[in-house]
């Protein structure tokens, strides 16, 4: 193992791990020493098997490896390495006048090959080239991931907008017939209430049916009204309905908690509030923000068993304030994480959840200039985090 940790010029090389594999001990030791003088820390292995063992403990970026080795030769080791650690780059060292080995190495995925006796500066250049290739691949991968995430986000947004448009249309089309149903049933009820009707046969049956019509209409009405609310919160042309003002988030959170405390106490759920800053001030619409908070708290209560805990944590910095609602409830299965913000997505019984809570809430948060994120582990719990700018 390398003992050369006192390197002065390691900074321009950056963190890089090199593994040197050669059965000639003397050759290895000289090379490791020279590399360390140039700021490169190299591990050593005397053959392919030892190399693979070392890699299991600690993967490296670049391997410099002799082709001719006893037992497992260099090309065979190379195949194993490329198979298990595809990102690792390998520079092969071939014997004099055996270009054949070098070509085989390249075919098996080596970065390049050098002919022994090697020229040290050339090896150094090759190592650096291999390192650059790794760096490029890493940045490319990150860029691809980033683009993929943006694309997904955009697809989700587009779907939300489309759903919103459809939803509003539906709400509109449903409301008129709903009003007619409601007034027809209401009319019959009014008639039944007349004194001359008090003795009609099967009166309770009529009343029961009318009652069912009324509760069902109420349910449908709640759904359409929430849909209409979505339009309100999503359409950007009505800023006068958003009333931005200075809000003490801790106070507001306390008020919201007080509103759900009774419901929580039925299930013996403890709701607590933590804030690093006693007066975390944000510029926002207190009513709309309270609506979001109530939605999140209600969700947490519904997702948590008796004796559970819900924690509201506020953290503030110069530019932004974050508020997290954490629970130790059922959690959200991974496959649902992207769906929960869609309108009408609900895992709750009919009549308990309409699936509009998070759709509306995320719309409000976006409109208030913030972002909402979710982190959840099934059976462990869920955390919803909202980040708001301190000043709009």
């Amino acid at each position: 193992m390398s003992d050369s940790h006192n390197i002065s010029d390691s900074s321009h090389i950056g963190e890089m791990n090199v593994l040197l594999v050669d059965d000639e001990k003397h050759f290895r030791e000289i090379l490791v020493k020279r590399l360390s003088q140039r700021g490169i820390i190299a591990l050593q292995a005397s053959d392919g098997e030892e190399a693979l063992r070392l890699l299991e403990e600690k993967p490296v970026d670049v391997i410099v490896m002799d082709v001719k080795m006893p037992r497992m030769n260099g090309i065979e080791t190379l195949r194993h390495v490329k198979d298990q650690y595809p990102a690792t780059e390998v520079i092969m060292l071939t014997g004099h006048a055996s270009t054949r080995d070098g070509v085989d190495g390249i075919k098996a995925g080596a970065f390049d090959y050098l002919t022994k006796p090697i020229e040290f500066e050339q090896l150094l250049r090759k190592i650096r080239q291999a390192q650059n290739k790794i760096r490029r691949a890493e940045t490319e991968k990150k860029e691809i991931e980033f683009r993929e995430r943006i694309k997904q986000q955009m697809a989700i947004n587009e779907r939300l907008v489309a759903l919103g448009t459809i939803a509003t249309g539906v709400a509109h089309e449903i409301n008129n017939p709903l009003a007619i149903i409601q007034d027809s049933a209401g009319w019959v009820k009014q008639i039944l209430a007349k004194p001359e009707m008090s003795t009609i046969p099967r009166r309770p049956d009529f009343e029961k049916a009318l009652d069912r019509i009324q509760t069902s209409v109420d349910r449908a009405r709640r759904i359409t009204q929430q849909l209409l609310h979505v339009v309100k919160t999503q359409s950007a042309e009505i800023p006068d309905l958003v009333e931005m003002t200075e809000v003490n988030l801790r106070k507001l959170a306390g008020e919201c908690i007080a509103l759900v405390e009774l419901e929580a106490s039925y299930k013996e759920i403890k709701v607590s509030l933590e804030s690093s800053d006693p007066n975390p001030i944000v510029w926002t619409d207190p009513y709309q923000f309270a609506q979001v908070l109530l939605n999140l708290l209600t969700n947490s209560i519904q997702a948590t068993d008796a004796g559970g805990k819900i924690n509201v944590v506020i953290k503030s910095s110069e530019e932004q304030v974050s508020l997290a609602v954490q629970d130790n409830g059922y959690g959200i299965p991974e496959e649902n994480l992207t769906k929960i913000f869609e309108p009408f997505f609900s895992t709750k019984a009919v009549g308990v959840g309409t699936g509009m809570g998070l759709y509306i809430s995320s719309g409000i948060v976006t409109k208030l200039g913030g972002v909402m994120a979710v982190d959840s582990q099934p059976d462990k719990g869920t955390t919803f985090t909202i980040e708001l700018p301190v000043k709009a």
Partner: protein
């Protein structure tokens, strides 16, 4: 409950809706007239004295807001309650700015509707009362000269 006799005009292009709401309002002793478009409502207002108009925001042809503007221009003392079926509260807010007395989201709760109806009616009577007094006063003043 004491109720001053008054007339309500119900304006909506949905015939079934107008019919059912009319029946309910008649059941509690209201006198109700119907119009199925903005233009028709203006005709009815010309022919008959109306206290409160219940007006749907969304109608083909002349829409609720236009109708409201026309009603308020011609009969500033007639109270108008807007019904927003398609829910952009926006339109309702716009209606309030144009002088509507209040608005309800369809399907509206009947009790809520009658409450607003009574309040609208009260305001109309108050205003008529005040105008009558003002007229009486100015008559008085003129005769004093």
């Amino acid at each position: 409950m004491f109720k001053t006799p008054s007339r309500i005009l119900l304006v909506d292009d949905e015939k079934d809706f107008v019919e059912m709401l009319t029946l309910r309002l008649q059941e509690i002793g209201e006198e109700v007239l119907q119009a199925y478009s903005g233009l028709e409502s203006l005709e009815k207002l010309k022919e008959t004295e109306i206290d409160v108009v219940i007006l749907d925001v969304k109608m083909p042809g002349m829409d609720g807001i236009e109708t409201l503007q026309e009603i308020k221009k011609r009969y500033p003392l007639v109270e108008v309650i807007m019904l927003t079926g398609h829910g952009t509260i926006e339109t309702a807010v716009q209606g309030m700015k144009q002088g509507a007395y209040d608005f309800l989201i369809k399907p509206a709760d009947f009790d809520e509707l009658t409450t607003k109806l009574n309040k609208a009616r009260e305001r109309r009577h108050d205003q008529m009362e005040r105008i009558r007094k003002a007229e009486a006063n100015s008559l008085l003043r003129r005769s004093n000269i």
